[in-house]
């Protein structure tokens, strides 16, 4: 609160950078997870239709899952529920 304008700007920049970093990490983890679950055949070098469909569904499910977790996690952190 008693930060100078320059320091406030610095904290905002820091938070922005952490959010970019976390998005990029999430992207990397999502690729690793869905590649691991969907791709097991290396007789060709390009994805076939079945692999493409598996990757697409995997990524969409992961994103929906992640959003639901985020919603529940936020509720718990805001104390709208007690851990009994």
């Amino acid at each position: 609160d008693n930060l100078s304008e320059a320091d406030k700007l610095r904290m905002v920049t820091m938070i922005d950078q952490l959010q970019v970093r976390d998005s990029l990490r999430m992207y990397n983890s999502l690729v690793e997870k869905c590649f691991g679950q969907c791709i097991d055949n290396f007789r060709r070098k390009t994805l076939d239709k079945q692999e493409e469909s598996c990757v697409r569904v995997c990524a969409e499910k992961y994103l929906k899952h992640s959003m639901r977790v985020s919603l529940r996690f936020t509720e718990l952190n805001q104390g709208s529920m007690t851990p009994d």
Binding site: N2, L3, S4, E5, A6, D7, R10, M11, M14, I15, L18, D22, R25, M26, S29, K33, Q37, C38, S53, C54, R56, V57, C58, E60, K61, Y62, K64, H65, S66, R68, V69, S70, R72, F73, L76, M81, P83
Partner: protein
């Protein structure tokens, strides 16, 4: 009002350094917790056939309970660690 040099009511550079550091720690901890929680509940609750891109009813309620239980485990272990009871 205040200037970069930190006179008057303004935080000194060292204080600012520490506050930025602590805010960063807190954020990193929460992000890592969220990521591990998301991974754990994905592995425990989501069917790996990947035919339908919607989450079905069973998956949705599993995720809700999984998040709740993960949160309880976090609280339990937090208490254990902060109790300071010597583990040996």
């Amino acid at each position: 009002m205040s200037t970069k040099q930190g006179f008057g009511q303004t935080a000194t550079p060292k204080d600012v350094e520490e506050m930025v550091g602590m805010a960063q720690q807190e954020m990193e901890y929460r992000v890592e917790l969220f990521n591990k929680l998301t991974q754990s509940c994905f592995d425990k609750c989501i069917e790996k056939k990947f035919k339908d891109s919607e989450l079905n009813l069973g998956e949705n309620s599993c995720v809700d309970r999984c998040v709740h239980k993960y949160w309880q485990v976090t609280a339990m272990i937090g208490q254990l660690l902060s109790s300071g009871r010597p583990p040996m």
